[in-house]
Amino acid sequence: MSESLKAKVTELFNEPGCDKNVAKGEKERKKGCSKPLTPGAAAGGCAFDGAKIALQPIVDVVHLVHGPLACEGNGWDNRHAASSGPTLYRLGVTTDITEMDIVMGSGEKRLYKAIREVIARYAPPAVFVYSTCVPALIGDDVEAVCRHATDKLGTPCIPVNAPGFVGSKNLGNKLAGEALLDHVIGTMEPEVSTPTDINILGEYNLSGELWQIRPLLDRLGIRLHACITGDARYREVASAHRARVNMMVCSTALINVARKMEDRWGIPYFEGSFYGIDDTSTALRAIAQLLVKQGAPADLLDRTEELIASEEARAWQRLAPYRDRLAGKRVLLYTGGVKSWSIVSALQEMGMVVVGTSVRKSTDNDKKKISDLMGGDAHMVDNIPPREMYAQLRRGDADILLSGGRTQFVALKAKVPWLDINQERHHAFAGYDGMVTLVRELDRSLSNPMWQEVRNPAPWEVGDIDAFLDDAPLLVPIS
């Protein structure tokens, strides 16, 4: 690992904005936040994966991966981060380095040529260049190549130094944030700037969720200057330092960006979520309050309250028809962080029973909220191994599992309904509208008549075939 990268990682582990880090002792902090990986029992992506997830939603740039084929080849165009226009971000672009490049050390030259070729073909406003394990191991200086290419070719080339072996996906998110801070944010001035400009950090517009929020902001006259990075244009991100308020979603993935933007440009930030009705209202309120504090007209507060009142009422009204159908159904919520509590109140309002919610990736704050909502911590579950979860579902401990793709087949093979609420989801669940979508999808899944049919065993496996066929007396056995 190069010295500069090592310094970055150490710095991230010292992040003062992160409650968890601040609570740690000096020695503990030095060890970093990523749990040590266990060979043969590890799950989850690497730092490069995390960096790519955080930056790929910038839609009008080319994302160029410097490494052997697998890093990009096995993972491109695999998420539903939506774009309202440009599609360049969906290209899978890689140097696909060969054995010869590694042996001859020609990786840097190949990278420079690759940058030149993509700029010639697509003329993007910028190229994001990701380093991976092999170039890091053989000592390719991606930052120097990017500097040189930026000078020579006149297009900003942004080095993203997060090779897979430095750590987890979460660390990669933060290293991507560092790349934005070092090379992008603050490099351009916005064309327009208003007293109600905000940025949203850590929202990736999966399945178009940003568009469930944007109309609410528009209605209030709040201008979303840059979403970092969902449906973002390079220019918006580069000039994001002129916004008045930063909202940070997705827990702490980009907390370093929020805190450093506050340090450098005095932009206040808060952490919020658009999952759940209460949370959406709380987030809108917080945005309005911070904006007013930053000099926006004070009537924004009243208008926000009006919008919240009317939209909450409308959402509950849209949810009402589902109450009878869903009351009493038992939900196992197996996700992490904010979502472990943010959708609980809506489910409870539907009369559903949350039999368990996982707190694997939750902070103390998250846990407190769960405890407040559900009366104690009895329903908090930690990591459930697949075999155990399968047994629980087979037993009928829950009527539906809400989780991410990893546990999809645990539920399906146990013949229990499952709804995807993590990153590969196909439905947008944000804001007031998203909660209605979530409940509608829950109902669709639970009320599907297919479940009963697939649970029925084959008649010959439960014994008497004659009993099964006794409504067809004309069938006479051959002998």
Partner: protein, 463 residues
């Protein structure tokens, strides 16, 4: 013979190939009670795992040695040992197949040697069969990884021929990476109907055919059984499919003395005839009546289908053997292969492709060539969807990965029935694009008037 063009570009835009370790993992998944283990950083496994799950819509057992920075610098054999021990303790697999990745191969240690030492000093691993295949991402593609893994299994599990081996009415089948579970099932069925016993390595038809079991099993469930792999020397013949399976087949032949036949493809009338004739010869049985009927159905499908193939311009992008099989299928039905792009250049089957040129390249090369030659259908994996959309022509999904369609495991394209169904799939695709004729289609019925003779006024001045 096709001219082979190697693109000299520094960048691959929209890769066509999938990496070799993924191919190896796929092969290991065709063994019963198995867990593939990728020796690399956890990202190598995570990306491969997600892609496999998206393709098969199944839970996939796949683990990682989780190489982090320190192990990358100081050496990875400790991680390999720890991973094997953890896997054995936690899930007790019968088989662990290790595939290396670019990360550890760049470091370059003697992993096969390390593995031997680990197996010798760890009695806990005595009941687990462990094999190792070297599959750096920077060399070769899916096919190469698959073939190397099969070779690794053969060289460490198959018992060499000895006088004690009792011959048996057994046929070994070494399918290529482009055979679906449905293809393998059909082949097994065919072999069985001649009174022969098929042993398939790897056998995805047992493990990745999409089924619901009565318990949660953390390893593969179904697939080639180790006891049968050990006994491959009992067979009277080995059938390998695709040029990339020649090396494993020859390795098996040299170990066991079992004669072998490599079929470049089993799609199409002639190759199926050869297979059926071979099985008939090996078994001494007459061809069962059902194959006469199936053959006749295929002949009828060819008669009905040829209207829709003749003169059609096809663009195909795939791994060499799949490219070879499909281009012969299309060309054999009268279509023209206007663009053929192979993921890698290291296969002798490329020479035989019925196209003027074969490009070694990516999906962008395929898209460019398809545009240049006016291709009417794009034949490649699901990542071709962006290109097909830009070209505004239909995409026929073949190979790996196919993540935006269901039932890929059950798509049949070998044997008389598979070929018959493939003809229908393609013909239906074209019929769905049926063009209603308009006067403009006939603009060149008469030759265009020659300008000098018919113009009496001077042409407008040009600026």
């Amino acid at each position: 013979m096709a001219t082979i063009i190697q693109r000299r570009r520094a960048v691959s835009i929209n890769p066509l190939k999938s990496s070799a370790p993924l191919g190896a993992a796929l092969a290991y998944l065709g063994i019963d009670g198995s867990i593939p283990l990728l020796h690399g950083s956890q990202g190598c496994t995570s990306f491969a795992l997600v892609l496999l799950v998206r393709h098969f819509k199944e839970t996939i057992p796949l683990q990682t040695t989780a190489m982090e920075e320190v192990a990358t610098i100081l050496g990875g054999s400790g991680n390999m040992e720890e991973a094997l021990l953890n896997l054995t303790r936690r899930v007790k697999p019968r088989f662990i197949g290790i595939a290396s990745t670019a990360l550890v191969e760049t470091r370059g240690e003697d992993y096969a040697g390390d593995l031997k030492l680990i197996m010798d000093r760890q009695p806990e691993l005595a009941h687990t069969r462990v094999v190792f295949a070297s599959t750096p991402d920077y060399a070769g593609a899916l096919e190469d990884g698959w073939a190397r893994a099969v070779s690794a299994v053969i060289s460490s599990i198959v018992l060499p021929w000895s006088p004690a081996v009792t011959p048996f009415r057994q046929v070994n089948i070494l399918p290529g990476v482009h055979q679906t579970p449905a293809d393998i099932e059909a082949l097994k069925d065919m072999v069985e109907s001649f009174g022969l016993y098929p042993v398939v390595l790897p056998d995805l038809s047992g493990s990745l055919d999409g089924h619901v079991a009565d318990a949660w099993i953390p390893t593969t469930m179904g697939g080639a059984r180790l006891e049968e792999i050990e006994q491959m020397a009992r067979a009277t013949h080995t059938i390998a499919i695709g040029e990339h399976m020649r090396a494993p087949a020859e390795l098996l032949g040299s170990l066991t003395g079992v004669p072998l036949t490599v079929f470049p493809t089993l799609t199409g009338l002639a190759p199926c005839d050869r297979l059926v004739a071979l099985l008939s010869r090996l078994s001494g049985n007459a061809v069962p009546g059902r194959y006469r009927r199936e053959r006749s159905q295929l002949v009828d499908a060819m008669l009905d289908g040829h209207f829709h193939f003749g003169g059609r311009k096809i663009a195909i992008g795939a791994d060499p053997d799949l490219l070879c099989a499909l281009s012969h299928f299309f060309a054999g039905m009268g279509a023209e292969i206007v663009a053929a792009v192979a993921s890698t250049g290291n296969s002798p089957s490329l020479d035989a492709i019925p196209a003027e040129t074969v490009i070694i390249g990516d999906l962008t090369d395929l898209e460019d060539a398809a545009r240049e030659h006016g291709a009417e259908v794009l034949v490649t994996h699901s990542h071709g969807r962006q290109g097909a959309h830009r070209l505004d022509i239909p995409l026929m999904r073949v190979g790996f990965p196919i993540f935006d369609r269901l039932g890929t495991a059950h798509m049949l394209s070998v044997g008389y029935r598979g070929t018959r169904d493939l003809i229908f799939r393609v013909a239906n695709l074209f019929m769905g694009q049926m063009h209603d004729h308009v006067p403009a289609d006939f603009a060149d019925v008469l030759p265009a008037p020659i300008v000098e003779e018919s113009s009496h006024v001077s042409p407008p001045a040009t600026h």
